[in-house]
Structures are given as structure tokens and as C-alpha cells.
């Protein structure tokens, strides 16, 4: 089974991610496993049948997608994946923060796509807690990325209290 990083440790990737090229019907059929991540557009169009199935359904967003489209239902999803089409595209950092801070999403927030070791620390600070690394990256050695920095100045998703308030304490 392919591996990823979840909550700071190496774990099996038990979810299967499908694209819009896959028909919504077949997502619910026997071709896919029990945990499926569907694209936002499919979720918006087929929400009812997807939630009615006995499979676990997660949703993935392209870097252009608007997380607010998920609305209050974001809070009920078990997993949301955000795709980095290329690692320089920084939009998912903001999308992650919006999901955590504004839409009260508490489930697994996964970085997928062009995800590399040197972006992991910032991703984690923005609320990602699982990471499917790009090809060629070694999952075990990438774990060291989470200790690149000991602290940070700003108010972040993982540490909302900025340093200036902690300094005073």
C-alpha cells in the first residue's frame, strides 16, 4: 500500500482519489475501495447519492477551487485533500487556513500533488495534517521537516497565539 505522512508519522494511504473523468456511479461501485476522495465538482453535483452510500467520501479541491463552496457541510467531512498542481502555487495554504479557521473543518486535511519535503513545515502550520508526497520523495526522511523551526512569530492554525503574546506570558 502506498505510504504517506499522517500526524507526523508514516502511515498507509487507505484512501483512493478519483478525478472528474471517473463517473460518479462507478465511484460508488465495486471498482473503488471503501474510502474515496472525489473532486469538489462531483461532490457539489452528486452530494446526495454520495452521502447516502456506505462508503466514506472525502472531497479534494484544486488550487483554484473556492473552499466556501463546501459551506457548513465541510465540518461533516472526514477528509479534505488540497491539490498542489505545482509546489510554487501557494493558494492551498490559504485554502487550508480557511477550512480550519472559518469552516470549522476538523477532519483529515491532506496535501496532495506536487508536495515536497521543504514545504511541509509551512503546510502543517496552515492546518494540513496529512501529506501525500510527490514521486521521488522519501516519506521517512521527510519527517524531519516538521522540526525545521522550533516556533513561529505569527498567529497560525496550529498555534493561534502569536509569539508577541507568548513573549508577554
Amino acid at each position: 500500500m502506498p505510504q504517506l505522512i499522517k500526524n507526523g508519522a508514516v502511515a498507509d494511504n487507505t484512501w483512493e482519489r478519483v478525478t472528474m473523468e471517473t463517473a460518479a456511479d462507478s465511484v460508488l461501485g465495486a471498482d473503488t475501495g471503501a474510502q474515496v476522495i472525489v473532486p469538489l465538482a462531483m461532490w457539489m453535483a452528486e452530494k446526495d447519492s454520495l452521502t447516502a452510500s456506505d462508503k466514506s467520501i472525502g472531497v479534494w479541491l484544486d488550487s483554484e477551487d473556492d473552499p466556501y463552496e463546501l459551506g457548513d457541510e465541510a465540518a461533516n467531512l472526514p477528509l479534505i485533500a488540497l491539490d498542489f498542481p505545482v509546489f510554487r502555487d501557494g493558494r492551498p495554504f490559504s485554502t487550508a487556513a480557511i477550512l480550519r479557521e472559518r469552516l470549522d473543518f476538523k477532519g483529515e486535511l491532506r496535501a496532495v500533488g506536487d508536495v515536497h519535503r521543504d514545504q511541509l513545515f509551512y503546510m502543517q502550520r496552515c492546518g494540513f495534517d496529512s501529506f501525500e508526497l510527490a514521486e521521488g520523495e522519501d516519506v521517512a526522511t521527510a519527517l524531519s521537516a516538521f522540526t525545521d523551526f522550533t516556533t513561529n512569530y505569527q498567529s497560525t492554525v496550529t498555534e493561534p497565539t502569536p509569539l508577541f503574546r507568548r513573549r508577554q506570558a
Partner: protein
């Protein structure tokens, strides 16, 4: 000056360790050049025409003498014995070796300096007016606010991969020497009727290919909400700024495309969520930062000195220097002295290791050990006793640092251009030198008076050509270097973008073209008019007629 505490030191050490590891992985072939690119850029490292170029941040232009000595020793040990002050209050080394950069960064850290976010698509060094804290026309010292912004912007996890670079300027003086209105975010410190401090917020200013003056989106942002509001602006830009075209990716294009009102709406929507949240600044934090910028131990001194006045009567060059390079100070008996780094034959902004050490010594002796660098690529000693001025002047003269040209035609802002920069279309330094040689007589320069002449070697506009009273832009025409001239730009409170005069000129024609433009001014000016005032009254046509009439 701000002094690092254990947290600041820790994060800087973390960064060096991280970059050492990244450099090693790149050299071992484990990081591709493409992957390494944004990592090295966010540590100020470019791969340039001749060698790597390392840009070191000088936060809001402030340096201690100890820091400047370190910069000098780095120039000696890692470079060819000199460095270059940029137009953004940074300093650049043009010859370091990639393998040595982590060691160089470790040396910088010893004096609380770094190259963090001096390049790349992230929030860059925050800049301000070099007279902050000592200008008589100041509302409030901008430096504590700059330091607060420096910390907020450093390693901000959400905004390290923006559509494009992002520059913030803060200004608390009436005059504005920070070119605040041509920054991605410009912040003017204001005081309301109740005496409370806040910020007028401008967004979407910038130079480059599309010069734009920033739009005001908030007339008075109470200081407590500064960081929440900046977060909101950054989030809107990060999400909606264009990423399909590098030349349309700056925030100015987004603000233009959707309009300042729509942009403000988006920011306000974000801001409403965060307002009064944990990012809200506290009085304690502001007081903590302000404590680092308290007045030095000024003495109570008379505002005049007989010996200095006498020297000014007998030493004409000193008299000129006093007139041009010495400004009023908020405190009686003190003056702000600008050392003009525009000696003819030396690239504007270049300093040798020896000059840096010399300036550090001057700062210790005459200005409480502090130095400021300016976006005009000069160096300021901000707290000089009036009675020391002549002694200081004579010392500067020995090191060719007493050029009395400040704010004159020879005080040219100039990017490194085609001699060093791989982006440049044309050389800029030789143009500056040719103009300086054409106008080398003090009386002529004095007669011309206040004027700004800015040169950029390409559209990226590092030399701020759009906002020079006279702007010169290097362009490439079928492989040959030509120069386009703009007139009427300004970078102060009345910021203006210059207008293109007409077709571009060959390099050798440039001094005469400038001479003709100056002639039109001198022949037409009315009582006390500056170059800019005459231009604004006459319009561009008389200049055009003169320059192109004989060029045919």
C-alpha cells in the same frame, strides 16, 4: 535598535540549519534546480551573470556599527572587497560561492542579520523613511511598526508562495522619503482627532512594467488591527492574484482588474473574521518594540556652533556640503548627515570594505554607533552634533565620502544593470557615470538645484526610473542597448509616474539629451521653481521639441 531575544536567535539558527541542509541536498543532486530555486531565493541567493548574488536584508535600513563591520569583513572574506547598497535598503554581494553561503549566513547571524525573504515570491524587507525618529516633520517613529511587521512577515507560513514578490513600506514623516505610494502595501502613520495612532493603507502601488500609484483602501486603520488587516490583504492576494502570467502577477494588477472598491470589500470580509482575534496587537508589544528605538543619550546643546559657522565661511566645499547633505534634526544641537555614495567613477551604491569600516568608525565617533541606508543608495548618520560637523566632513573627505551632491543631478539612483544583473536589457552604471562627468561642476549643479535622476537597466525598474524627475530606462532593440527617457516622475507625498519623452537614444547621446532637457528647464523656470515644478507647468512638449529637433 532592535535587539534579538532568544526566540529571534532560535529562529535564525533554525533557518541557517535548514538552508545548509537544502544547499547540501542541492549539491548532492537530491534537489532539482527547479526545487532549489524558490528555497535559495527566499534566502536572498540569485544565480547571476557572473556568479551568485546574495542580497542581505537591512531591516528598514538600520545598521549598527558592529553590523556594518561584519558586512565589511564578509565583503573581504567571501567577496571581492566591496558590496552594493540596493534601492530597497538592502546590501548585495556579487561574488560569493554557493557552497560558502551557509557559512556566510552563520556569520551574519552573529550580528543579528540575515538574507531571509530578500528575494522570491514572498513578503520582502519592510522599508521606511531614513529620517525615521529624527525628522522634525514626523508624526511618529515608524521603526517600531516596521519591526512588528518584520516579525509578522518572517516565515509567515501562509504567504511564502505568493503569486509574486511583495513589498511593504511604512512612513511616519510628512515628506516621505520611502516611495511609500509605489509599494504593494504603503502605510502612512496617522493620528486622529483623539490623538490615537493608526494607518492610512494603500495597496497596489508598484513600478516594474506597469507603474501604478497605490489606492487608499483604508483611511484610518487603528494600530491594534494592523496585523489582522495585513493578513486579510495577503490572503486576498494569495488567493486571487494572477498566477497565469508572471508579468500580471503583482497585486497592482489584481487591484486594477477588480477595482479598488471590490478589493477593499474582499479584504474587509476577511478582516471581519480576524478582527479582535489573537493577532490583535497589544499595548505591551508596541511598548516593547518602541523601547528599542528610544532616543539615544542626547545632550542639551545650542543649535549653532561658531567654529562650524566660521569654517563654512572659509571652506566653500564644506559650505556646499552643509547646504546639501545636512538636514535639520528634531533635537536642538544635532543634525542628520547623509554621506553621498555617488563619487563619479564608482557605481552608485557601491562601497568597499574599507569604506564600510570607516563609516562604522564615524558612526561610533559621531552618531551613537548607528547608521541608516537609504533607498537612494546613500548612508545616513542620523545624530551628529552640530559642533562635530566640520570634523566629520574633513574625515569623510579623506575617504571620498564627502561628495556634496545630495539631491542633485549627480546623486543618481542606479541599479547594477547589464554589468552584473542577468535580467538587465542594458547597462546602467556607465550611463550614470557619463552624466556625472557631463555635470561635474558644483555651480552648475547648484544652479539646477533639487532634482532626481533614476536609471534602470530593464523594465523591472529596480532603479525606480518611473518616479525620477528624469527617468532613464535601458531597452533592447534588436540586440543593441538603447535608452528611453521619462520626465515628471516623483516619489514623495506627491508621487507621480513619469511620461515617456519619445523614441529612445543611443548610449553615447545620453549626456547631451540630459543637457538639453536641463537647458529647457533653466531657460523657462520662474522664481524659485524646481525642475519638477517647471515641468509640471510647461508639460512635456517643449522638452520633446528641443531634444528631437537636433537629433534628426
Amino acid at each position: 535598535m532592535y535587539i534579538y531575544d532568544k526566540y529571534d536567535h532560535q529562529m535564525l539558527q533554525d533557518r541557517i540549519r535548514q538552508f545548509r541542509d537544502q544547499t547540501q541536498r542541492f549539491l548532492n543532486g537530491k534537489l532539482t534546480p527547479e526545487q532549489f530555486l524558490p528555497l535559495r531565493l527566499q534566502n536572498g541567493l540569485y544565480i547571476q551573470r557572473l556568479a551568485p548574488m546574495l542580497r542581505v536584508a537591512i531591516p528598514y535600513g538600520m545598521l549598527s556599527s558592529r553590523q556594518l563591520r561584519k558586512l565589511a569583513s564578509i565583503a573581504r572574506d567571501y567577496d571581492k572587497g566591496y558590496a552594493h547598497f540596493s534601492t530597497r535598503q538592502n546590501i548585495q554581494y556579487n561574488w560569493p560561492q554557493l557552497e560558502q553561503v551557509p557559512d556566510l549566513l552563520a556569520e551574519l547571524a552573529e550580528v543579528e542579520m540575515h538574507a531571509i525573504q530578500t528575494s522570491g515570491n514572498c513578503i520582502r524587507n519592510t522599508t521606511t523613511d531614513q529620517f525615521a525618529g529624527v525628522a522634525p516633520d514626523e508624526i511618529e517613529d515608524s521603526r517600531p511598526w516596521c519591526e512588528i511587521i518584520r516579525q509578522w512577515s518572517t516565515f509567515h507560513p501562509e504567504f511564502a508562495y505568493l503569486p509574486r514578490k511583495f513589498k511593504i513600506a511604512v512612513c511616519g514623516t510628512a515628506n516621505d522619503q520611502a516611495a511609500t505610494q509605489v509599494h504593494d502595501i504603503g502605510l502612512y502613520i496617522k493620528k486622529n482627532d483623539q490623538g490615537e495612532i493608526g494607518f492610512q493603507v494603500l495597496v497596489g502601488g508598484g513600478l516594474g512594467r506597469t507603474p501604478v500609484i497605490g489606492s487608499v483602501i483604508n483611511e484610518f486603520l487603528p494600530w491594534q488591527h494592523l496585523l489582522s488587516y495585513l493578513d486579510a490583504i495577503m490572503r486576498v492576494y494569495n488567493r486571487f492574484g494572477r498566477r497565469d502570467n508572471k508579468y500580471k502577477a503583482r497585486i497592482k494588477i489584481l487591484v486594477k482588474e477588480i477595482g479598488a472598491d471590490a478589493f477593499r470589500e474582499k479584504v474587509e470580509t476577511e478582516y471581519r473574521h480576524d478582527k479582535d482575534g489573537p493577532a490583535t496587537l497589544t499595548q505591551e508589544e508596541v511598548d516593547r518594540c518602541k523601547a528599542y528605538f528610544k532616543d539615544p543619550a542626547y545632550e542639551d546643546l545650542p543649535d549653532t556652533d561658531n567654529a562650524v559657522a566660521e569654517a563654512a565661511n572659509t571652506d566653500l566645499l564644506f559650505h556646499h556640503w552643509l547646504e546639501r547633505n545636512v538636514a535639520q534634526h528634531i533635537k536642538s544641537g544635532y543634525r542628520i548627515v547623509t554621506l553621498c555614495l555617488k563619487e563619479t567613477g564608482v557605481a552608485p551604491g557601491d562601497v568597499t570594505d574599507g569604506q564600510m569600516e570607516f563609516i562604522a568608525d564615524l558612526a561610533d565617533r559621531y552618531s551613537f554607533g548607528e547608521i541608516r541606508v537609504t533607498h537612494e543608495q546613500n548612508v545616513v548618520l542620523a545624530d551628529v552634533r552640530v559642533s562635530d560637523l566640520y570634523e566629520l566632513y574633513r574625515a569623510c573627505k579623506q575617504e571620498a565620502l564627502a561628495t556634496p551632491y545630495l539631491g542633485m543631478l549627480n546623486d543618481i539612483i542606479c541599479c547594477p544593470g547589464g554589468d552584473f544583473c542577468s535580467l538587465a536589457n542594458a547597462k546602467s552604471i556607465p550611463i550614470a557615470e557619463a552624466i556625472q562627468r557631463r555635470f561635474d561642476d558644483y555651480d552648475t549643479l547648484k544652479n539646477i538645484g533639487d532634482i532626481t535622476l533614476n536609471i534602470s537597466g530593464c523594465m523591472n525598474a529596480c532603479g525606480h526610473h518611473h518616479v525620477g524627475n528624469i527617468g532613464i530606462l535601458g531597452v533592447d532593440k534588436k540586440g543593441e542597448e538603447f535608452y528611453q527617457v521619462t520626465l515628471g516622475g516623483a516619489a514623495d507625498r506627491e508621487t507621480a509616474i513619469g511620461k515617456v519623452l519619445g523614441p529612445s537614444f543611443a548610449q553615447e547621446d545620453m549626456p547631451e539629451v540630459i543637457a538639453k532637457i536641463i537647458d529647457v528647464y533653466l531657460e523657462n523656470r520662474e522664481d524659485g521653481e524646481t525642475f519638477l515644478a517647471t515641468y509640471n507647468r510647461l508639460g512635456i512638449d517643449p522638452y520633446k521639441e528641443r531634444v528631437y529637433a537636433t537629433a534628426d
